[in-house]
Amino acid sequence: MKRNSSDTKKVKLSCRNVWKVYGAHPDQFLKDSKDRFQDPAKLAEAIRESGQIVANANVSFDVHVGETFVIMGLSGSGKSTIVRCLSRLVEPTAGEILLDGDDLLKKSEKELIEIRRHKMGMVFQNFGLLPHLNVIDNIAFPLKLQGRDESERYSQAERVIKLVGLQGRESNFPKELSGGQQQRVGIARSLAVEPDVWFLDEPFSALDPLIRKQMQNEFLRIQSVLHKSIVFITHDFHEALRIADRMAIMRDGEVVQIGRPVDLILNPADGYVRDFTSDVPWEGVLRAADIAEQPQGPVDGLERIPGDTLIENMLRQLADHEEGVVVEGEDGSVLGIATARGVVAALASGSSDAPEAAKRYS
């Protein structure tokens, strides 16, 4: 699923100019303000000055079918609030949420329940399991709410239990499980209704690093089978790197930048974004295509490598070929030439925190 050119794909879910204000008069400022679209930062400032909390300010992005869209940001930057707006757990103060082109905010309570029963699944940071139900009943709970009969419930639940690898734990209660196992239950429950859109709010943040890594692999495996449209929240850039097709970075309720992880690394919009990306090992992120330069002379006879080769995997060839290697696209076209000098320059600019230098290569 990585690096598919998702831009060309259909949009599954999108939010347009979404605001969420907590306070005494949330929509006082938003009703008919010109700044709402023109200068959201100014408007947000004005609302904050009135003593209210701006959790989301003019947030817009699209999530494509089958894509993993990651939202990142510091604590309090409004990540949870925006997914809750997307699922309408929280009512946005202004803006539009479109699911398959339909405005979610216009749906009645009844229609919403139907949508949640069939089209949405959500995973929570602290699992949100029901303490009085065992594993299988927790997972089958959404189906029970729909009034499906027991045999159907359990056979469907068994399927997702297998998917998350919890066989044999069906009759345990949540408090008898480890954190990782509990989150598997949370994942299985959110998948039991076979949703199209899958929300995950920091699903692995409560787990220790080793388990987290393992759960990320598990997540990637599941997604490679199911191809859901995913909104995934994290505050860990490494996690985002591993799983994101595209990502958005948020600060103080606003989206600062949207793009592929590598775009954010190479072209951070500002220092805030750069702070997130600065401790990323570049050789594990940059690929041959990212550093390819215009060839100075003829390229015939040089070694050829695919454009998506990670730099850490092409060091051998570079060492053997002082004159460089040719980087080719998926269709065999020549993208440019990669040289040892170019790689070193790119890595140097990464470690010296001066990505302007690297921009030349992108």
Binding site: L89, L130, P131, H132, L133, F141, L145, F173
Partner: protein, 689 residues
């Protein structure tokens, strides 16, 4: 040095000066020392008129309810009484086993056998049948109000004060109301017990429903729950443990009220047995009957809390149908079996009179022996406490010190020495700690010299109101002023001071004893292990029963009441002190240890100050327990508000008793708010909240 004093100090000095002026001036102006008769608002007459109106106009309505409620009580009573005792004993044992295992089962078996053998089976069943109706009703009412309060903050704001009043107005004050409206009979006990026991269910329901985490609720919504599904399938089951805690508390409150309500008589239950034997001075018998109540209370408490603790417990092994339903199967088989046995073996059906075993006579003899042989010791304890603690607090050193009591008369020289001594102590404490302690000592010195009942009433109102204001803000200050004003204006001032005097002494002693034991228990696991069952037993013990041993030794009087209150009220002080000291932040203790503090420094300069907010909550509970016991202590002839309440009940003067009851509620609520506010403030200051 000066920085230690702030505006509060100046305010208190002003209060002290005004108080002293009032004290001096009350000799000139009589209205200062005694609230003038002419100013008294005849609230009791108004209340009586309301009651008359209710009886006259809506009497049929209440009698109708009474008639309706009488049927289920009669039904259960009949069922429990016609069941062979062997079947009941078996079922109780089985329930105990299911709730908490074989230890409780053995305890339940022995306890119920005791009830049979001692000859109180029928009385016990009569009390139990009332409980069997009142508990479900209380749970239903409590849960409904709880749900209402959960959904609507406005409803909650209306409900909460109602609960405070129901839990603090003494039952004796409204028993007469119920009696007049619903008519004589067991229904009175039922209604009183529901009224008293549904409030804890409301509180626990609200806390439980509110306490469900946002994520669980959100996960329910995202699972596609409708609002009704969300409530019944997500919120309620997620708060089950708290709800069951509410059931436990409601049950215990219900039982205690069933016992208290038997004071109106005609119920032929176990509470009546205790009361009537006390009145006839048959202490051996009343002790045996009291033990029955205590045992019942303990079984019911352990069973309900056992089920609460087991909720959500899970045994992962796969089980067959028979194993999963083993208790139901056992219940059916056992019941049939014992029924059949009882058909042939008559003893199992009804325990014959001549086989009853009652050591009451022996108990009475033992008691007589004790009293005769230790007369001097018993009398000395009483006299010392009376002369040196109780009398001075009540009427002041100025009157209590006489050649007869203290061995000398109070001369101006003595008084001056007292004044200088106290000022010196106050100054010393101010220098060493802070001015608050100094001010407290000065106020105490004045009150102790004049005596609580001889203090000018405006001075008392002033001191308490300013204390309320300083501790809990202006609202509490105004509330306190209004509350004390109410007691002056309705003509119950003198009795109120007598209640505060008796309860105050008892609370101070209880807290001193309780906190000391608590501190000890926090540092010594053996003490802790010994105290736990003692505390549990005392806390579940119905109040009447605690009175018995003290009446046996000291007969009636204020001293008996004092001892009974202490015996009941020291328990929360132990609990909270131990809890507070055992749950201190570990890093602070370690830091202090690293600084090289000795054990005593650690205790007094680190642990106790940090645990003080929690200990204050213990004091709060000590006061509440003390007031609860004070109400019952009216039976042994105290003289305060509680006595007015009691007399109101026995004389049929509802208004009079009820006004006094409100007075007691006011005292309780003010004390509660002050200690809570103080504890809360302190926790914030210490960064613990």
């Amino acid at each position: 040095m000066l920085a230690k004093f702030d505006r509060g100090f100046a305010q208190w000095i002003a209060v002290i000066i005004v108080t002293l002026i009032f004290v001096v001036a009350q000799k000139e102006w009589g209205w200062l020392s005694k609230y003038p008769e002419g100013w008294i608002i005849p609230l009791d007459d108004a209340l009586n008129a309301i009651l008359d109106w209710l009886v006259g106009n809506l009497g049929w309505f209440f009698l109708g309810i009474s008639w309706l409620l009488d049927w289920p009580i009669k039904g259960v009573r009949w069922a429990l009484n016609s069941l062979p005792w062997a079947v009941s004993v078996f079922l109780v044992t089985l329930i105990a086993q299911a709730a908490s295992g074989w230890r409780l089962a053995v305890f339940a078996l022995l306890s119920t056998l005791y009830m049979v053998v001692i000859g109180y089976w029928e009385e016990s069943m009569n009390s139990l049948s009332l409980l069997a109706i009142s508990v479900p009703l209380a749970i239903l009412v409590g849960f409904s109000f709880g749900v209402l309060g959960f959904f609507s903050r406005r409803a909650e704001r209306a409900i909460m004060p109602m609960l405070d009043i129901l839990q603090t107005v003494p039952a004796f004050a409204y028993l007469l109301l119920i009696l007049t409206l619903f008519g004589f009979g067991t229904v009175v006990g039922l209604i009183a017990s529901v009224l008293y026991s549904f409030p804890p269910m409301v509180r626990n329901t609200i806390v439980g429903l509110r306490g469900v985490s946002d994520e669980i609720i959100e996960s329910g919504i995202m699972s596609g729950a409708t609002p009704a599904q969300l409530f019944w399938q997500v919120r309620v089951p997620s708060s089950l443990r708290q709800l069951l805690l509410g059931v436990n508390q409601a049950t215990m409150a219900s039982l205690s009220m069933v016992i208290i309500a038997s004071i109106i008589g005609g119920t032929a239950d176990i509470g009546w047995e205790v009361l009537s034997t006390i009145r006839k001075a048959q202490f051996g018998e009343s002790l045996l009957a009291g033990l029955v109540i205590a045992l019942m209370a303990m079984i019911i408490d352990r069973v309900t809390s056992g089920f609460a603790a087991r909720s959500g417990e899970y045994d992962p092994t796969e089980k067959s149908f028979a194993r999963r339903h083993r208790y139901w199967i056992a219940a059916i088989i056992g019941t049939v079996l014992f029924f059949a046995l009882a058909e042939f073996v008559n003893v199992l059906e009804e325990w014959p009179r001549e086989m009853e075993f009652s050591p009451a006579g022996a108990l009475n003899d033992g008691l007589t022996y004790l009293i005769v042989n230790f007369r001097t010791e018993i009398e000395t304890i009483k006299t010392l406490s009376l002369f040196f603690v109780m009398l001075p607090t009540k009427i002041g050193l100025q009157m209590a010190v006489s050649p007869f009591t203290w061995g000398f008369a109070m001369t101006p020289a003595h008084a001056a020495a007292y004044a200088f001594g106290m000022i010196a102590i106050a100054a010393f404490c101010t220098a060493k700690w802070n001015w608050r302690i100094g001010i407290f000592i000065l106020l105490f010195a004045i009150f102790f010299y004049i005596g609580l009942t001889n203090m000018p009433w405006p001075a008392v109102v002033l001191v308490y109101s300013v204390a309320g204001w300083r501790i809990g803000g202006y609202r509490l200050g105004i509330g306190t002023a209004l509350g004390f004003g109410f007691m002056a204006a309705t003509g119950i001032w003198h009795e109120a001071m007598l209640s505060i005097y008796l309860c105050g002494i008892a609370v101070i002693i209880s807290f001193a004893i309780g906190a000391s034991i608590g501190i000890w228990a926090a540092h010594n696991d053996t003490v802790s292990a010994i105290m736990r069952p003692i505390n549990d037993t005392l806390q579940t013990m119905p109040l009447f029963v605690i009175l018995i041993p003290f009446v046996m030794i000291y007969k009636i009087g204020e001293f008996t009441a004092l001892l009974a209150i202490i015996a009941y009220a020291f328990v929360p002080a132990v609990r909270y002190s131990e809890h507070g000291l055992r749950n201190l932040p570990e890093n602070v203790i370690e830091a202090a240890r690293m600084m090289g503090s000795t054990k005593w420094q650690m205790l007094w300069q680190v642990k106790v100050p940090l645990a003080l907010p929690v200990m204050m909550l213990g004091l709060n509970q000590t006061i509440m327990y003390g007031i609860a016991m004070l109400v019952i202590a009216a039976l042994v002839g105290t003289k305060g508000l509680e006595q007015v309440v009691y007399v109101g009940l026995s004389d049929g003067n509802f208004g009079h008793g009820f006004v006094a009851g409100i007075g007691m509620a006011i005292i309780a609520i003010i004390a509660d708010r002050m200690t809570q506010a103080w504890s809360g403030k302190r926790q914030v200051e210490l960064g613990l909240a």
